[in-house]
């Protein structure tokens, strides 16, 4: 999903574009298949040949490791590499009973909620304003979207400088207000810096989609609304925002997955392998346990738990799209 975790989106319908009738845009298979071409080639071998490279890669690098993850989540690996024993749901109960894990889960939830909320609302605010102005429209657009191209760890590095004890301007600014920011030492301060950087990095993405959604609203609707209602603010709440709801919903899911997964780079750069007193997210914990702690079973169980979370989110997303497709 989103930039990174590699997309689950494919929702042109939600970006305000109208599609010709008969082309179903939901990523749902049944619809897709019914809307097949009238004319097709028939060949015994060719389609398999064309599919082969993609399928080979998917089986080797998607299905095999995914199955592996589920498999090893039920086993306890010997730390010295001498075989493994079946422990059933043992790894799962261990994980879910661990206070540390639950603490990280709680932080992840708060982190996700805050990043999603701020990235969405700032993106929406800027998109509404950019949609409203005529002069300088293109320049604003370019200047507001280009941060999209910056990798999360690079954003994290720049963030580290701005939150640096010696040279960081944000630290200096906070000092004026009597707040001594100590990123890397103080749990809350580190979390604050992580959230700021993660939001900053995600604003352009939301801006692009909101703006494209706004521009998809027909002029006639806007004009009608302008005649009915003089207050710009009320017009926004009662007419524009409901029309943007599909875009917003789509972005909500994308932002949640962004906060859960794509912020890995930001977090990794900010905690620099010293996770001890620092806030980390669930994905980072999977990484720490698997690669630093060598706890294959526990890490796999955590992976599977995360898989379930993503799975639910994705299903939720697809259900929603399908509904939309039906009603339109």
């Amino acid at each position: 999903m989103s930039q990174s975790s590699d997309g689950t989106t494919l929702l042109p319908a939600l970006t305000g574009r109208r599609w010709p009738a008969g082309r179903v845009t939901g990523a749902s298979g049944q619809h897709g298949q019914t809307a097949a071409k009238r004319v097709q080639f028939t060949s015994r071998l060719l389609p398999y040949l064309f599919l082969a490279p993609q399928l080979a890669i998917i089986f080797t690098f998607f299905y095999w490791p995914s199955a592996q993850a589920i498999h090893s989540s039920f086993y306890l690996e010997d730390p010295f590499g001498f075989g493994s024993t079946f422990v059933g749901l043992g790894n799962y109960t261990d994980v879910l009973k661990s206070g540390e894990y639950l603490g990280i889960a709680r932080f992840t939830a708060i982190f996700t909620a805050l990043v999603t909320f701020f990235a969405l609302s700032i993106g929406l605010l800027l998109a509404v304003k950019a949609d409203g102005v005529i002069r300088g429209n293109a320049a604003y657009k370019t200047l507001l979207i280009w941060v999209y191209a910056i990798a999360p760890p690079v954003a994290g590095l720049i963030g580290m400088m701005f939150f640096d004890q010696h040279i960081g301007p944000i630290v200096e600014l906070a000092r004026w207000f009597g707040w001594e920011i100590k990123v890397g030492l103080n749990y809350g301060d580190t979390a604050f810096a992580m959230i700021v950087v993660s939001v900053w990095k995600q604003i352009p993405y939301n801006f692009i989609f909101f703006l494209s959604g706004l521009q998809g609203i027909p002029v006639s609707v806007r004009e009608a609304a302008a005649i009915d209602c003089r207050s710009e603010l009320r017009r926004f709440w009662t007419v524009i925002l409901p029309l943007l709801a599909p875009t917003a919903f789509f972005l909500l899911i994308i932002n949640i997955t962004y906060s859960l997964f794509d912020t890995f780079g930001v977090i990794d750069v900010m905690v620099k392998d010293k996770a001890a007193n620092n806030p980390i997210t669930l994905v980072y914990k999977v990484y720490m346990d698997g690669f630093r702690g060598n706890d294959l079973g526990g890490s796999s169980a955590q992976s599977v738990i995360l898989m379930l979370v993503v799975f639910v989110l994705t299903i939720f997303q697809f259900r929603f799209i399908e509904r939309r497709v039906h009603y339109n």
Partner: protein, 280 residues
């Protein structure tokens, strides 16, 4: 009415400031000497040591093995970005072509096999993926760096959507002219898809270039480090030192963001098209 417009511009300018200022400051600061930055903090003025710092970062042999240069990492980033983007386009165009233009018994089944990959991002299966790569002896290879990232369906869906929008009459006409599946694909579909390919290329290049987690796992040999992967190494060295090389860290960050940023800014129209109509 007039006043609200001014307020709009003020809000937008604040937004632009927040998005642009950190990077401008990073760039300007990178042209100062480390000791100066340590003493005076971040800077908004030109420091005059641009050539020096960037020359050092690009050509000095560093790292634990003392052999890796910034230029080297940049090349690796380029290989990853290009390899991923091209691989993705080729694979997904072929697969989408098979799904849309051929009638065969297992079509629906394969569609779902590919579709399922959308459900689980790489991040949730990193450890088993790493084990698989180990078993295949693909760690510290370009293949291992690029190919596993291709295991997702996004591009396929994108081209599938597009192929479906191509009028049926084209195929009918081509068949009357005696064109077979290969000829139709190369002479009709590929030229028609040019804009789509450009749009998806941009998105995928940026995505590939910016990969962090996977290169971190797959490459322990510094010869294969990408710029984005190298960032953390820089920070780890930096933690212990007295006067950190702020300038070099900033320079590296600027270099790491330069190619994707340039592509996004220059090809903005295609980029937005690719993003909003497909999302990776």
């Amino acid at each position: 009415m007039h006043r609200t417009k001014i307020l709009d511009h003020v809000i937008l300018l604040i937004g632009v400031f927040i998005m642009v200022a950190p990077v401008v400051v990073a760039f300007m600061t990178s042209t100062h000497e480390a000791a100066d930055i340590h003493r005076k903090g971040l800077s908004l003025t030109w420091g005059g040591h641009f050539a020096e710092t960037y020359g050092t970062v690009l050509t000095r042999e560093g790292g634990f093995t003392g052999k890796v240069t910034g230029f080297n990492m940049m090349m690796n980033s380029m290989i990853l970005g290009l390899g991923f983007a091209i691989g993705k386009i080729v694979l997904s165009m072929l697969a989408a072509y098979a799904i849309v233009y051929f009638r065969f018994p297992l079509a629906t089944f394969f569609f779902w096999v590919i579709f399922t990959t959308l459900l689980l991002p790489l991040e949730v299966r990193i450890l088993p993926s790493y084990e698989v790569m180990n078993a295949l002896k693909l760690t510290n290879t370009y293949t291992g760096l690029i190919v596993p990232l291709l295991a997702s369906a996004t591009g396929t869906f994108y081209f599938r959507q597009f192929f479906k929008s191509v009028p049926d009459e084209l195929l009918e006409a081509a068949r009357i002219d005696g064109a077979g599946p290969f000829k139709f694909f190369i002479d009709v579909l590929v030229p028609l898809s040019r804009t789509m390919m450009a749009a998806i290329f941009i998105i995928m290049f940026v995505y590939g270039w910016n990969q962090y987690l996977w290169p971190t796992l797959m490459t322990t040999d510094e010869g294969f480090f990408t710029l984005v992967r190298g960032i953390k190494q820089i920070l780890l060295v930096w933690v212990g030192s007295n006067i950190p090389d702020y300038n070099e860290a900033f320079a590296l960050a600027i270099l790491a963001m330069l190619p994707p940023v340039l592509i996004v800014v220059i090809f903005q129209r295609w980029f937005i098209k690719g993003l909003t109509e497909s999302d990776k």
